[in-house]
Symmetry: C2
Subunit: 286 residues, 2 copies
Amino acid sequence: MIVINTLLEMRKWIARKRKEGCSIGLVPTMGYLHEGHLSLVKKACRENDVVVMSIFVNPLQFGPREDYAAYPRDPAKDSQLAQEAGVDVIFSPSVLEMYPQYPPQTTVEVKEITRYLCGASRPGHFTGVATVVLKLFNIVTPDTAYFGQKDYQQAQVIRQMADDLNINVGICTVPIVREADGLAMSSRNTYLSPAERQQALCLSQALMICRKQYEEGERNSAQLKEAMKERIRKEPCVQLEYLEICDQQSLQSIPEATGSALVAVAVKIGKTRLIDNILLEEKQHV
Amino acid sequence: MIVINTLLEMRKWIARKRKEGCSIGLVPTMGYLHEGHLSLVKKACRENDVVVMSIFVNPLQFGPREDYAAYPRDPAKDSQLAQEAGVDVIFSPSVLEMYPQYPPQTTVEVKEITRYLCGASRPGHFTGVATVVLKLFNIVTPDTAYFGQKDYQQAQVIRQMADDLNINVGICTVPIVREADGLAMSSRNTYLSPAERQQALCLSQALMICRKQYEEGERNSAQLKEAMKERIRKEPCVQLEYLEICDQQSLQSIPEATGSALVAVAVKIGKTRLIDNILLEEKQHV
């Protein structure tokens, strides 16, 4: 595995691999790797000849009062984990390399689908995400790019952007990886104190309550949400940011969880913002 | 020469040419071709193995009170002219093919450089231009794309977008082609009545007055602009929209036309909006 820090070197490496006829998988990350990232790498390795992992904490997707400076970084450990998982190249550019002028004059705006969920609570966030992902696509020119389902809305924004801009990159989402007790893996889990870590379980547990009620036949969104809120309210340090049951495509709220639904939740525990989600699918009766 | 109307066919043709090792030039147009367009084609033919001309009147770059519906179209004559000039493929998609959802959720915004000149008088125009050009780049994947200098700001916006988004396409601008009497070639010239056509000469003549004063040593922008305005004021039906002397890179107004300056003018003659420009360059003394 090699580490590349410049656009020029990255483009050269890609051109060489393309000449050899290799298919290319891209796993865009902000580093501080966990099993969730590694599951993306494993899928990318199965489906491509070579796999590039980008590690770039993208300032453009952080709000002014968010945790850009504090975002956890551990390049040495990331290298080791990426290599073990089968990554061929870590592409880890500096902010100056990615944004010679900051903020950049050009951004990619995705409307409608960004009005909901994290888009509503983090204005500008998905503009930053879409812009940096398009830049990475243009630099790495992958056949397929891999995104975690934990950031469900992010993956949908990228899909929408790819459709709208005729970007010839396959977008693949990979299921959430959870700790043994159910907490969705996230680099931000490292912020949690032991007490907060315990209370953070209310996210996955609320979602499990929702799934159980759904499997028992409940479809009313208000009912399902109330059951989840009841679980979350038990934790004194957990502040609910949003809890929505929405259409998997448009992300618009739906009053009944019929068809294909997304249940998405965001909370703050102390200063740490955590998100989680599940997909509910009507079983197809053949 | 062939005409392709679908993204799928266009991508297939490009993939075939890429396999053959061809370099690809793209000339994006809105059709109703004139000598200006053909000069782009000629340059593209000299520099590439194959040349794609896109013909697409892009609704996204027209304001609600602009001339989208009335914009002149003549596909049969365009085909003939394009073929004679050496175009290999005309890519002429429908609006539905380019925008399955209209307006699209995703747009490309270029800030700063779009605050001036046409960007100031046509809000949203350059968002429409940048978005459609990026789509065309993603579909055709050209090595180089060719733009006319008459739309100087447009070419600069595309350059800025390409830089900011790491788009691997060379951007080439080609000098303005003029009628024998000096009028810059434009598809919109067809709107002009004979009387308006005569008055339209004030654009190029004002710019020639500017160049003459500049060559005689005048550098003061207010002075140069006043001389041009005097010429334009002579025409009763010509309404000045803007007249600026600005930096060629940033497009910001400059009080003295030193270094590399752009002199840009936009007018309305009746209902017809026309633009023109010249570049002023300090001679390099070796």
